[in-house]
Structures are given as C-alpha cells and as structure tokens.
Symmetry: C2
Subunit: 113 residues, 2 copies
C-alpha cells in the first residue's frame, strides 16, 4: 500500500477482489459517485463536491469502501479530502467493467433516442 503525504492507504490492484468491487458498485450512492468520476476528466475531485443526501459520517464510510475495493485513491489535504478514480490500474485488472457499468447507468431513462 502506498503512503505518500496525505494519501490514504489503498490495496494493491493485485489484491483487489472482484466480489468486493461488485459489492461496492451495488450501492446506489457509491455507484452514483463512481459514475460521476468515470465521466469526469480523470482529475482529482473534492469529496465535498458530491451531492449525497447522507450524513457526514456515512460518507466517510462509503469513501472507505470505495478505497478498499480498489476503485479510488483518496488524498487528505487538511481541511478537505480529494478523490481520484484509479482508472488505468483498474482497467488493467478489470477490463471493461467501469465502462459497462457506466454505460448501463447512463442509459437510464433514455430507452429510445
């Protein structure tokens, strides 16, 4: 696990389990977050910038789950925290998964275009 200044510990990609990933993506709140990250530009994003209708402590919980499932990297910058998708690493280990899930979720409520 890396331990850069402010970087919260994350598992190596090799140690990440598909079951954990699917569980992480099964939660609507977490999936919404991942979705936004997937069709973002890949740069860091403030954790506080996600409009989740849940308590602060619950968010902390969800960030931990996403981190431990190998989906995101999280940096603690004192007064705020930031997340970044582990895009390339993740894609190398679970090819196509993010795109497929993102594609399915994005297709929501737009059956025939």
């Amino acid at each position: 696990m890396s331990s850069m200044p402010g970087e919260l510990p994350i598992p190596e990609m090799a140690a990440v389990d598909l079951g954990a990933v699917l569980s992480a993506l099964a939660d609507p709140h977490r999936r919404a977050v991942v979705l936004e990250l997937v069709d973002g530009d890949g740069t860091e994003r403030a954790c506080s910038s996600f409009p989740l209708p849940i308590a602060k402590s619950t968010r902390t919980h969800h960030w931990r789950v996403l981190r431990e499932a190998g989906l995101v990297r999280q940096r603690d910058a004192g007064n705020g925290t930031f997340v970044r998708l582990r895009r390339d690493e993740f894609e190398a280990k679970f090819p196509g998964l993010l795109d497929v899930v993102a594609g399915i979720s994005t297709a929501r409520s737009a059956p025939v275009r």
Copy 2:
C-alpha cells in the same frame, strides 16, 4: 411475471435493478454458477449439476436471489429443478455486463497468454 407450468415467477426485465444484479454477482457461489451458465450453450441445466459446497437449503436461497435479480429462469420439474440464463433479455437491458464479468473471471490465473 410469467407463470408457465413449473416455471417459477421471475420479475420482468424492466423491473430489474442494477444494484440487485451487482449484489447477486458479488457472491462467489452465485458468480461461479453464472459463469458456468455464461460459457455454456444456453440450454437448460439441472440445478443439481453445480458442484457447490453448501447445504441444500442454502442453494435454494441462492437460486432465489439469482431469479429475483433477473439473471436466471428456473423450472420446477417435480423431482428436479432446472435453470437457464436469461441471456438475450439480460443482454438487452444490461449490455456487456455478463461478458465483462465472465471475461474478468475467466482471465483468472492466466495473466499473459
């Protein structure tokens, strides 16, 4: 929901939730079963033909989860039950999902070929 002779009730594909699907696939036993079905020939298969190291009642539970998540169709034939992947229907609603998950799982322990 359909109610053919022996066909256990299943949700219409439209009513199936991605979260439920991902949860269903998150379990190793269920994922193993789906995997076998995916690279099978699409024909019906006896429920008893899956080598799951769990109790009978636990199997029943897992089959229900898979059914209710929209992944399989199950037929009760008196002395035995049979399952079939809802391949095309599922593919139409969640394009690519099964292939991606199957691909990832199959890639296990064969990094460079």
